[in-house]
């Protein structure tokens, strides 16, 4: 059983192995400034590795043929899962326009069908494999694309009446935009890829080295197995349990909102809209440093979740305690560039380089975000009961030049200035300070009946934000969890039997304290992570005792 640090170390060994074995030679780096210092990871192989660190991640590698995309993910699979390279190779779905459902998903068991009339499905290797690769996804016909849609989204494959649930997998797809047999990929399909990276031709020095490498068509590389599938899956649990800093969390939401809002039309419903002279001419926001004019399509909720997921993975990989804003900003272009439909007029200024444009969009959002941040903080302060008339005035004045303030903040700000709301916050604050559990529960219960839903939700969020400051992490093993789950159910007063069928995440909300339980795998050694948000140590002690002390508390 490896500790978090050992697992992290192994990942860096895997990255080094990729470099040493000259599997993918691209001397380009992803530079990340964090509060802990500046970091650098190889751009392509680093991001490809990142995809394996999030549960059921799907990644798109976008680039010309012969750049080594497939080889990189094949060998990375070997390094990170220990699967034999032949097995990985055998499960690759090599796309072509003739690929039909039977060749992708599975076939009926003919013997059983003829003899017993049973529609038993023999699933294809690709479906069952942990390390899934779709080579040249652009060659999949639209109907074949539909087949893999639910696999990408929920890990579910249906054939006749049978359903195969792929509980744990890592998926990569390569895409060659210059291929003649290309079918356009639908937006919902693209949206299901959590992250995408553009692969360009190697640098001159890398080219020089590539020329000297042995022919990989004759000689297979001898790649060691560094991690096992179970170890990799354990990492998912650690990544999932990473906390996100409030500013970073705010940025993720603001990014999605900025891309979705428009002062003139509803991007959600205006599917035939064309951003450009017709809509934007004369619009006050066109001349401001806003991104509404750049994008036709809103950013999906899935994209937001993916941004959080991959940011967590990067923060975990770098050994950070939580996800800072800089990590989110670094990852954001890779998460959004392939999912959005940009305005051609503006895209042209960037030579139709969608990734570069997405980076520009993220930078514009960041600029506006930093300008708006004190206002948003003042808004949060107001929800927490602190009224600064000067800042409230500034928020109200900002509504003319800021879509987020105009549509998301200004319309409801007055609700939090009401005496009833402020009284509740003040009561809650003093109870938090004196750590009176009964009082807190009573206030929240009373507030439910007295406040309107927006106010009540703001009050509970404020309380949760206070709890988050007192987060404690309890880590145990699934074997231990399994043995004591009944006792734990009794202590917590909830049925936890569902947690015995991972991957599962359970939230135990006890009004005044919250527990988040993350279980990724059912192996005895697999970690069970409990994030306890509580002001009191009582519940932590109880859990620890119930687990027979076989846990670590951070």
């Amino acid at each position: 059983m490896c500790s978090e640090d050992e697992l992290r170390k192994k990942l860096f060994i895997a990255l080094e192995a990729l470099d040493k074995e000259k599997i993918f030679l691209h001397t380009k780096f992803l530079e990340i400034d964090t509060p802990k210092g500046a970091f650098r990871i190889p751009l392509v192989s680093g991001l490809v590795l990142l995809n394996a660190l999030v549960g059921n991640g799907a990644m798109l590698l976008w680039g010309g043929y012969g750049y080594g995309k497939t080889m990189l993910i094949k060998y990375l699979g070997r390094l990170l899962t220990g699967m034999p390279i032949e097995e990985i190779e055998a499960s690759i779905l090599r796309a072509n326009p003739q690929l039909i459902e039977e060749k992708i998903v599975g076939r009926l068991h003919l013997g059983k069908l003829i003899k017993e009339g049973e529609e038993d499905v023999v699933w294809r290797r690709f479906v069952k494999s942990f390390w899934k690769i779709i080579d040249e996804i652009n060659r999949l016909s639209p109907s074949a694309q539909d087949v893999i849609l639910s696999l990408l989204g929920e890990g579910i494959v249906k054939y006749f009446d049978s359903v195969y649930v792929s509980k744990r997998y890592v998926l990569y797809a390569t895409l060659n935009p210059r291929d003649v047999g290309t079918f356009p990929l639908g937006m919902p399909l693209l949206d299901r890829f959590g992250i995408a990276v553009v692969i360009k031709s190697p640098l001159l020095d890398d080219m020089n080295e590539i020329v000297l490498l042995p022919d990989d068509r004759i000689l297979r590389k001898n790649i060691p197995a560094i991690l096992s599938i179970d170890e990799l899956v354990n990492i998912w649990a650690y990544v999932e349990a990473m906390p996100i800093e409030p500013t970073a969390q705010m940025f993720i939401s603001v990014l999605a909102k900025e891309l979705s809002l428009c002062d003139r039309v509803d991007k959600e419903t205006g599917i035939f809209m064309e951003i450009g002279p017709k809509i934007c001419t004369g619009c006050h926001f066109e001349n401001l440093d806003t991104v509404c004019k750049y994008v036709y399509t809103p950013l999906s909720v899935r994209a937001q979740k993916d941004l959080a997921k991959y940011s967590k993975a990067l923060a975990w990989l770098l050994g950070l305690e939580s996800v800072p804003l800089s990590i989110v900003v670094t990852i954001a272009p890779y998460v959004i560039w392939h999912r959005l439909k940009f305005s051609d007029k503006h895209l042209e200024e960037f030579g139709f380089d969608r990734f570069r444009f997405a980076k520009h969009v993220v930078e514009s959002v960041l600029r506006a975000f930093l300008q708006r941040l004190p206002l948003l903080q003042a808004y949060e302060d107001l929800k927490a009961g602190s009224v600064d008339p000067r800042m409230i005035n500034m928020i109200k004045n900002a509504r003319n030049d800021d879509l987020i303030i105009k549509y998301e903040v200004a319309p409801i700000i007055d609700m939090f200035l009401e005496d009833t709301y402020l009284r509740f916050v003040s009561e809650l604050k003093s109870s938090i300070e004196s750590q009176k559990k009964d009082e807190i529960e009573e206030i929240l219960e009373r507030a439910k009946n007295r406040l309107n839903p927006t106010q009540y939700s703001a009050l509970t969020r404020f309380y949760l934000s206070q709890l988050r400051k007192h987060r404690k992490k309890i880590i145990t093993r699934f074997g231990v969890w399994k043995a004591y789950v009944r006792e734990l159910s009794q202590i917590l007063g909830v049925d936890l039997s569902e947690t015995l069928r991972p991957p599962v995440t359970t939230r135990v909300d006890k009004t005044s304290e919250v527990l988040e339980i993350v279980i990724i795998d059912d192996k005895d050694n697999a970690p069970v992570i409990i994030n306890a948000y509580t002001l009191w140590n009582e519940i932590i002690d109880k859990i620890s005792n119930a687990l027979g002390g076989q846990c670590q508390i951070f």
Partner: protein
Amino acid sequence: MSLPSELIDLDELIQNFEEYMMRVGKRRACERLVELGGVSDIFDTRIENVLELITKFCGGLYVAKFKQSLRARLLAFGSPITPDFISTFGVFVSQIISRVLDPHVPLLTIRRDFQKLADQYRIKVNKEDIVSLNHAQFHESIYLSEIFWYILNKIGVLDHPDFPRMFVECLKRVGNGLSVEKTIIATRPLFYLKLADKKVFEEACRGLSNNFDGLLGFSISAAYSMISYMLQRGVAIPSISALLAALTMDSSEMLLLYEKACNGDESLIYLILNKVITVYYRGPIFKIIGGILSGRIKAKNAIELLLHAPYTTASIQNIRQTFKFILEVSEKLSEEEGFERQIFNLLTKMAFEARPAIIRRFLELDDSRRLIAELIIKLPSKLILVALNRLIATYAPTIRHIGHSSDDLCSELKKTLNAVLPDWRETLDVRTIKYLGLK
């Protein structure tokens, strides 16, 4: 009472213009108006009336004629204000701005003017509310800048759609002559314009592109606007987004800027200044060096600044000053992380950017050899040796006569070289060895 055929009083003419025009005819009346208006004081409040009457009754030709005479007088008085500015914003605003932008009007006078206006408009700025920066000498200018933009805001000009463009045009006219203090005051309203976009800041910085002091003032103004807002001490939202766009900052630079602003860290000034210098500064290097030597900039920031400064126009004196400056700060900063790399980058930058003839002539000076030798001794580093070796080997003069370093210096130099680069006799270029007088 009937009007005389020849009116000589402007007030009388303005009051009875229509009647006078009917009596003597349009042409004569308009000519008279232009003539009398043309000799009034440049910020005479009646100019607005004259402009109004000419526009209403006389037509484009007379408007042009009057504006031309007004322009000539404004130029003669050294005012950056244009007749169009006066006709759009009036004499009152024009006069305030003209005085702020006039390099010859001392701060004391501006302070007196502002205090009167602040009383008039009931503007209250407490000196205690000003977020304190360590640069005490600029505290007064920041205070005045705060009053300045409050006044303009109260009058309503900051909301006018033409104000950003016209104000920046005025600023550009005097940009090269403005002091740090004056630029702090003059550029402050830019951050509170209703319609500020990236172009406004770009144009303002271009207007100051030959003026190091001006760019420093702009950076202080920007940093102060950000800090006071981030610390929630301001009353309005400065256009941070447009500023960051004009500075072409990438996301990590933006985050660093934000962090510094939130902590009230005044090194934010230099972060902005570095960027402004890199993107906009077109003036000579000696002005930057002058700014550094004046002690207004901390040594650590000064090195960063030099790394962004253009050495293309550097003179021998500037190269010498840079070396002297490095020597001066090396004792204090040699332990700092990254200092060695910074000096290496600076030497490399000088070698690439400065004119070869200038470097060659610098190297020819006896004093230069001593400076270089001292640098090697004071800052024993392989990296710096590599940079110096490259500089000397590339540009060393065709050595006709090279003096020898003094015995003490020579032995000290050898000692350092032996410690840093034991095989220096093989590694260093023969020209470098000769130049340093080691053979």
